[in-house]
């Protein structure tokens, strides 16, 4: 029992050590934060308790992780002795305190942009032609990707694309004109229809779509909106009368489920 507990605590310690090493490798911590002799003593302490293959693999991962950190420490020392070395915290402070203009100026003083021209040349055209001629057929290249049986492309029609919602079944203007016709029919002799009655659709989404179309009918002069007390009426026009300079009045109408319930 005691041996089992000690083995599991050993595994935990090795796991923690590996995680620390990974964090160092990911530049989260300074490599010198890890005390190598302490790390090695942890590995050594548990070396005689290794029983299963998993234990040995964990031990191996711990050793390689520590080795990588030693490598990073060595790189860090070499870097610190190079001309490029500035402490990251000092760099951060500098970057925060310097203005954009200063930083841009520093970059410009150290920057030698590459000269590159994009143009077709005889050589590149020949190269492209050779490439094209040597290129395997589409089916040959596809075979290498192991994508399974090839399904031949099929034709589709607008109806199917509309069902897939790739295209709109009817153009927007057409929709507006259909709605305008509907409005004129429903207005009948009264020459007006209650706004909420008219925009009401089969569901909430449909209602919002109709309300949006109605807003365009109003903006483009196909109908007028009349307010009488708390009620709003749509009055269709016999002929559209577009306001060339745009509508002078903007009248937002919030559509909420509560409003729709009240209107019913």
């Amino acid at each position: 029992m005691t041996e089992k507990v000690s083995r599991s605590s050993g595994r935990r310690e090795l796991d923690e050590l590996i995680q620390t090493c990974i964090s160092i490798e990911n530049r989260r911590f300074n490599p010198f934060l890890l005390d190598i002799s302490e790390a090695l003593s942890i590995i050594r302490r548990h070396s005689n308790k290794l029983r299963t293959l998993e234990d040995h693999l964990l031990d191996m991962r711990a050793i390689t992780s520590v080795a990588r950190v030693v490598g990073l420490q060595s790189a860090d020392l070499r870097f610190q002795s190079s001309a490029l070395y500035v402490d990251p915290s000092i760099v951060k402070e500098k970057l925060d305190s310097l203005s954009r203009e200063q930083l841009a100026e520093f970059l410009l003083l150290s920057w030698h942009p590459i000269v590159e021209l994009e143009q077709l040349t005889l050589a590149s055209t020949k190269e492209a032609k050779e490439f094209w001629e040597k290129m395997l057929s589409f089916f040959e290249r596809r075979k290498r990707l192991h994508l399974g049986p090839f399904v031949m492309p099929e034709t589709t029609d607008l109806g199917e694309l509309a069902r897939m919602r790739v295209v709109e079944e009817r153009a927007y203007t057409r929709k507006m004109q259909d709605l305008w016709r509907d409005l004129k029919e429903r207005a009948g002799e009264d020459q007006r229809v209650d706004y909420w009655d008219f925009i009401g659709g089969s569901d909430f989404a449909q209602t919002v779509v109709r309300a949006q179309l109605v807003s365009f009918l109003l903006s483009y002069g196909y109908a007028n909106l009349l307010r009488k007390g708390n009620n709003m009426f749509l009055v269709p026009k016999a002929k559209p009368d577009p306001h060339i300079e745009g509508s002078r009045l903007s009248f937002p109408i919030p559509i909420t489920k509560e409003v729709l319930v009240r209107a019913k």
Binding site: Y85, Q102, L103, W111
Partner: protein
């Protein structure tokens, strides 16, 4: 071969030049470098990247070195603007390169975005990071860490940038304030 962009990266590899010019291609490049001086241009050789942080690459990778033609001098802010660079983009690039260099060539993306965000605005930081990655100034490694890209190694004099940064003094307080997103659109 050096001027015209063929493929994604400009310039030419050693083996390409060797194939095109023969074994004495380095002599030809030296002569070209001499001739380009009058135009304030130079031939720059970029060594292939070392395999890891602490292990130098094998010696036989000479064939993989890449040669570019680049500006010998530097650009004035006005000239950089004419090339389509904005001041805040240049500042963001300087900040990200300095931070990556100070962290020995690798840094977390989030950290870089925070630093750029202080200079160019939070939202622009995200798009600028993508731009720098796309144009080759920065690269993302397999672990998702950001490192210096091929273009930085070809175009930037990093010791000069780090020295300028280390020797710099902050300007007056009002111009060093962090910016909001809507301020970041200042044209360079």
């Amino acid at each position: 071969m050096l001027f015209f962009k063929r493929g994604r990266i400009p310039g030419a590899r050693s083996w390409e030049l060797k194939t095109g010019l023969g074994k004495g291609y380095t002599k030809v490049l030296e002569q070209l470098d001499e001739n380009l001086k009058d135009l304030d241009l130079e031939v720059k050789k970029v060594e292939p990247q070392t395999l890891s942080d602490f292990k130098p690459g094998p010696d036989d990778r000479e064939e993989e070195s890449r040669y570019f033609v680049r500006l010998k001098g530097t650009l004035a802010p006005k000239e950089a603007r004419l090339c389509g660079w904005r001041i805040d983009n240049l500042a963001a690039l300087a900040a990200s390169l300095a931070l990556v260099v100070s962290k020995q060539g690798r840094s977390e993306r989030k950290e870089l975005e925070t630093v750029i965000g202080n200079k160019a605005g939070r939202w622009r930081a995200l798009t600028l990071m993508d731009t720098f990655l796309r144009s080759g100034y920065l690269e993302e490694d397999e672990e998702g860490l950001i490192k210096l890209g091929w273009r930085t190694r070809a175009e930037l004099d990093l010791p000069s940038l780090m020295t300028l940064l280390a020797e710099s003094k902050a300007p007056s307080v009002e111009s060093s304030e962090p910016v909001d997103d809507d301020q970041a659109s200042m044209e360079g």
